[in-house]
Each structure stands twice: as C-alpha cells, then as structure tokens.
Symmetry: C2
Subunit: 463 residues, 2 copies
C-alpha cells in the first residue's frame, strides 16, 4: 500500500526556529515609530511585547533555540502530517505529485498556535499575567486563548463586532478555553468609546480592534499586561518556520523535493512558515517556484507598492516597510477573513521585491471550487483562506498535465473549515460572487502612503 501520510516521530520535532533575516539578500528596512517617524528601539516596544520577543524581532541569528516548555506544548499536535494527495492527483488526472502539510490538526484548527504558544510562553516567563489581542473571524483569537489556557495566563480578545455576531463558534471556543472575548468597538477602552460615540452601530474593523487591544495592554498600570499579534511581525513568521522545517525532513523521507511551494498569504505567517526554509534553499541555489497566493479582492502583493505604512487603520501601530494597499483600504467582504489585511509581512514583502517569492491573486469562486474538489477527493474541508493555496496548487497541477511535466507541488493546508461552513453554504447555493478588482478603492487608499525611501510625515499616534 502506498504511503499517504509522511509522519515524523516526536523526537524529530525541530529544536530551533529558522530566522531568515540571517540570509536575506536585502536586509529589512527598519520599522518606524508612528509618532516620530524614527526607527523604533526596544524601549519603544517594551510596553507592547516582552523583551525575548523584541529581541527575536531584530535578531540576525540563523537559528534560535525553541525552549523545552514550548516543544512540550507543540507535541500536543506536532509534528504535523505531510500528505501525499493521491485523491486530488487522481481527480485532476495530473502527472504532478501533490503534497500538503496538514496544519489543521492543532486544537484551534490552524497553524496559528505555532506562534501563539511561543508568545504565551515568553510572556509567562517575563512575569506577564495577561495578554490582549484582536481577532477578525476568530482564528487568531482562539489560538491565543488555547495557548493562554495551557500556560495559565489571562487572555482578552477584542473581536470585530460583525464577526462576533455572525460567527459565534470561534468566540465560544475562546470562552471554552477561558478567554474573555468582547465585541469591538467596546465600551471598555477610550478608542472603542470614541468610535461608538461617533457611530453606535459601528460593525467594527481589525483596525479598531487592534487599537483597543493595544490600549488595554499599555493602560494596565500594574505593567502585567502585554499585547500580541498573530502575523506580520518577524518573530511571528519565525515561530511558524517549524512548518517548513518539518516539511523538509518529510520530503526527504518521501524521496522528493518540491519544484513549487505554495501558501496563502494574508499577513504572511502561514505562507512564510512553510516557505522560509525553502527560501533559504533557493538563496543557496535551489530552483524552486515559491508562490504566495492572495485574494483578487485584496491584492496587497500584486497591486500594492512597497512603502512605509501603518500596521493598523488608526495609526497607533508602527510603520512597517511592506507591500500595502494603504492602511485605510477596505477590501470586499470575502469569506477568507484572514486574507483581508491591507499590508503584508515585511519579510515576505522584501522577498517579493527581491524576486524570490512570486505573488499571485485568485478570485473567490475559483478558491471555493478548489475547496469542494479537495473535500470530495481528499476528505478534508478546508478553511476559506486555505482554499486559495489549493486553487493555486490545482492551477499548477493542471499546467503540469498540459505540459506533460512531473512537477512536485507542495502547499500548506493551513487550517480546516469546520467553523466556516456558512461560506461553503453560500458557495453551494450560488450566493457567493467574485468581486471586481477594487481599482478606485485602491487608488483612494494609496494616496495616503508614499513609496520608499522617502518616509512620509507621521501624525502623532498613541503608540
């Protein structure tokens, strides 16, 4: 019988994260203070993050040890299986070999706990008692809630109100793990109160929720609260590299090496988690097509310039050098909520600029069609975000058939869709639609940023 899952024994769990900053052809531009426009230093970040994470954010070490306490928690679901997608290959009648890394086996159902566990741990050993964060559809909030439960930390999640009301299951997961989850804008912060005074019916946004979470962290006078972000930042991407590091061992066991590596990209963390160890190989001479897939309705990488822009819409977060559509860009309400971010991780952005990562965009209907094909061929129901990676893998597998080439395709199956079934219902009932490329909205939002290397004048922020 043919091997379907390439499993690693627990002792093969990677003991170090890979830090691509040691190998980047072009070093990252500094992150700037939103108030002064000057590069931020550790002291600027100290109210937000514990020192070990700040140190990781700027580290140039190639490998960073994973503490035993984190490894022990990783073992709850890691190493994750690498699958050979025989069912999908057969359904597509392709000569390509398709592999996918199943990150959906974590208790939260996605790759997000890879960094949530690490962040909870470093906060814990830094004497922090409480972590605040924001969440959109709830993937990140639930991953952090799960991780805080394991380390005995309090967790406070500001969840975008429209999702809080429309997608209650993720909120209930957070509460089951003991987190306190409130709809944002809330009356618990000045930022929330201000928004509500202007618009009592505000549906909320990630930008507002970030502002509330940051305010709740920095305004705790005991100094025992910090803030946490689930993507974009360097240390977050680094924590995710356990995915790609495991994959490299597993591909070796399978006796293959990928010609094509694919991940969907919102903030960039699941894509980078799989891709960065292969980026290292590519920098060292390997020929690999490394593809980051974004939704056509939020084309950050394919349509956004590389520029300094705020991480949040209300200009409290630092300015990052990245591909961005502008911090006031409002993407269409697609179901892949995790891919609706206006910016992109600086590391991923720089790799695109340097021609190492190839970004593409795909429309919503194609991604759900891919998700249905996958579910009926491989069994697993994927998150709407993950369907973008599947759609790209299918495109490449079809191309391989047309060209008669035996390509090896590897993609990150970043999470399951069991808490996103309403999106499938919308697709199956014909209610879902593609969204025209929002050119006017892009042009509007882009007026608010300026390209590198000329930083704009920054409004004083609360950061």
């Amino acid at each position: 019988m043919k091997t379907r899952k390439i499993l690693l024994p627990e002792k093969e769990l990677p003991r170090k994260w890979y830090n691509v900053q040691a190998d980047l052809p072009t070093p990252l531009e500094p992150v700037l203070h939103p108030g002064t426009g000057q590069p931020v230093g550790p002291d600027d970040l100290a109210p937000l993050f514990p020192m070990p994470l700040i140190a990781q954010e700027v580290s140039q070490e190639r490998f960073i040890d994973i503490p035993d306490e984190i490894l022990e928690k990783y073992l709850i679901w890691r190493p994750t299986p690498l699958y050979r997608a025989y069912g999908l290959e057969k359904a597509l009648d392709t000569p390509a070999k398709i592999y996918f890394k199943n990150e959906g086996v974590s208790p939260a159902g996605s790759h997000k706990p890879n960094t949530a566990i690490a962040q909870a741990y470093y906060n814990k050993i830094s004497g922090i008692k409480r972590i605040t964060t924001e969440t959109g559809a709830g993937q990140w909030g639930s991953a952090l809630a799960f991780s805080c439960a394991l380390f005995g930390l309090e967790c406070k999640v500001y969840m975008v109100k429209i999702s809080y009301n429309q997608k209650p299951y993720r909120r209930m997961m957070m509460e089951t793990w003991g987190a306190n989850c409130v709809a944002s804008p809330s009356t618990e912060t000045n930022a929330g109160k201000k928004i509500l005074s202007q618009n009592p019916d505000s549906p909320g946004s990630l930008g507002i929720a970030i502002s509330e979470a940051i305010e709740a962290a920095v305004s705790d006078k005991t100094g025992q609260t910090r803030y946490s972000l689930g993507s974009v930042l360097n240390h977050v991407l680094m924590h995710q590299t356990v995915i790609g590091l495991e994959c490299q061992k597993q591909m070796k066991i399978a006796g293959d090496y990928p010609d094509i590596v694919i991940g969907c990209a919102g903030g960039g963390s699941n894509f980078a988690g799989l891709a960065l160890p292969f980026v290292r190989d590519k920098i060292n001479g390997k020929k690999i097509d490394i593809i980051a897939v974004e939704p056509a309705s939020c084309p950050t990488m394919t349509k956004g310039p590389f520029a300094y822009d705020f991480g949040d819409s209300v200009q409290m977060a630092p300015l990052a050098p990245m591909h961005t559509l502008g911090h006031t860009f409002v993407p269409a309400p697609i179901h892949a909520g995790g891919l609706r971010y206006h910016g992109m991780a600086p590391i991923v952005s720089q790799l695109i600029l340097d021609g190492i990562v190839r970004p593409i965009s795909i429309q919503q209907l194609e991604t759900f069609k891919a998700g249905i094909t996958f579910a009926r061929a491989e069994g697993f129901i994927s998150a709407p975000e993950t369907n973008h990676a599947i759609a790209a893998a299918i495109r490449e597998a079809v191309k391989a058939k047309e060209e008669g080439k035996k390509k090896v395709i590897l993609f990150n199956w970043s999470g399951h869709g069991l808490v996103d079934m309403a999106a499938y219902e919308a697709y199956l009932s014909g209610k879902l639609k593609d969204h025209a490329l929002p050119e006017a909205e892009i042009q509007r939002a882009l007026k608010d940023i300026e390209p590198l290397p000329k930083p704009r004048q920054y409004r004083a922020g609360a950061f």
Copy 2:
C-alpha cells in the same frame, strides 16, 4: 522530552477487524423480523444491506480481512494517535496514567468514518449506486457523506428536522461532500407525508428519519439503493475495532496496559470499537474494568431491561435483543445527541449481562465540567458525547488519587466538539441543567416491551 503522542506508522494499520462473536461467552440471541417475530435471514435483510455486510453481521470468524480499498481510505486519518494526557493528569494531581485515543482527527471529526468507509465500499462493490441513512445531530450523516464522496456514491440523508434547523453546520458539511440532505419528516416519502399530515410542525425524530431512509431504500425499483446504519449492528461495531486494535499496539509501545477502559455509549459503536479487543483479553483472563458511560437522562444500560425491542420508534426495523428503555422512550433534550438512543447494541448488551462490561451513567453538567477541564489542560475541545468518557476517566483518576493507586486509564476520545460549540456556550452561561431521572417516562415506555425469552406479539411492519 516525554512522549506525548504514541504514533503508529501506516504499515502498522490493522489489516483485520476483530469479530467478538467468535469469543462471546454467551452467543447472541437472533434478531427477529418485525412482522413475523421469526429470526431474520439474509433474504429479509437483502433489500436493506449488501450481502457482504449481511454476512459480516452473522459471521463467527474471529478476524475478518479489511480489503485494501478500505485500508487505503483509512490512511487518510488512520492510525490515529494515542495520547498520554499529561496535562489532565497534572490538573487532577493524580498518580494515575491517563491515555486517550484521538478519533477526532478524521475529516468528519469522529470515529464514525471507520464504519462509513467500510459500508460505502461494500455497497460500491455490490453494484449499489446510492445509500440512504438517517442522522440526528449530523455526525453519522456527515461521516457517510464523506465516505460516499470518496467512493463516488450518491448519499441521501434524512436529518431530524429540529437538528436540521438548529445545527446547520453538519448539514453544510454533508452538502460540501456532495450529499443530499433533507429535513425529516419530508414530503419525499409516504412515512414523512403521513407524519406531516398529522402534524405539519413535527420536529421529527430519529425514529421517523429511520423510517424515511428505509422506505427510500426499499422503494427504489432499480434495486440500486441500500440503507445504512451508523451504530448498534454487529458489523458496525466490528468495523470500529480498528480503534482498539491500534490501541493495543500503542499501549505496548508505551509499555503500559490499561487497568480501566472507558468509552461513552449511545448505540455502542465507539465504546465497542475501543473495548472489544480488550474484552477479548478479559475473556482470556486479563483483569480489566471496562466501563460504558451513558447519560443519566437516557439510562439504557443502567435502567433498561434486556429484552427484544424494535430498533426504531415506528416498528419498521427488526427486533434486537438488547438493553432498552422501550422504542417509544423520549429522552430529555441533552446536548449529547448521539447518546439519546433508546436501545443499545446487542453485543454490548450481552457483555453487560455477562458481567464483562460495567455500565455507569453521568449527568450532563458533570460531563461539560469535565470537557472544560480537558480543553484547558489538553487543548482539544470535545464532542458532548465524548465528555461522558472524559468525566468517567476523571472520576477514576480522582479515585486512584484517593486510594493512592497508580492505575492506567484508557478512554476513547471519540470526536471533537467544534461543530457543537453552542452546547459549551449554554454550559458556560449557566443555562444548561441536569435532568431528573425520567422514572415515569421509563415506566411508561417499558410497558411496551417484554423481557426475554418470551418474545411479544409483533405488529406487522413495513419491513
């Protein structure tokens, strides 16, 4: 680092199911025809099931080969991990070692596909094109939908209307896998129409849904439709023994052997799947406490006599020798929908009668408290049914602490609760309650059955 998950490589997947009928101290009583009261033969069952499954139902062979085509599909998620529950042990401060078998890693999220895959396969090779079934909350229906998708079979699911409306996610899963799911009572069958003419607002019941699914199967004049049941029957329990067979190998790797084996029991299939291989060991002299856990509000095993009773409420299904509360028993609306069946698998019933399996019952609030403890200590959110097994394991672990004994406890983590989050919300918000033992309802329903060995007079059924 301590091993958390005991993994089996794919080549260690069991190649045979274990058929406990070869070892039962007391052979099973025959199943009777609902119309004649006479033992059913293969011809009676042929309109419902394909011949290979009918043969398995009565086989006395100790081991039955698992065909390669089934093994290949099992590999999508099997072998499943056996976990050492370090987090739970620590939370309980117990000297007991707790192990759980994670059956939640299947695409449908529970153990149900172990038999759904097998049933789909045997229907497929018997020339059947379409399978009908009923489902309550949707676990079974989604498992069969998933399995039919993999084998290219049509799948028709009659889902109890109140669940169809209240729990749409499972229905959407079935549709994503290509199944056709209708609310029962429906207007598609005479049984459904009859109920609707009497009560247009009928919320439906498993009994009605079974009638519809059976009618839809037997009334297909092409002869290409069969019916499928997800629990209770001998062949269903046998397919589930891959769980326990894997566990025996994994416990050996762990260097332990269980003193206590626990599963929750509704129809009996996940319990039996784990327990039967250990039942064999017990029959051969091993000292093991094998515990089947049921809800206190549906105390089939602990309060129901062993008698002949109908498998469904409308007397279309055969009469089975089993512990039963009577086929008209209506349990309280607890959230563990999979444990609300009036009867119990004949195999499990006989093992209780013979003193090999020890049944216990637990109230709803204790099970959810256990589920919360588990989620915060081990990470995974459990199905409400599974919480019954966890609650029993916690009771035994606490007892071990009180007695200072180093017991080894093994339970079946039969499924995750990600599609059941509303139940957790109800618990956390204090809205959930225990239900008094329904003595009056039990006495009422029991009047309709008679104990063995004197079979009652049977009404002519449509079977």
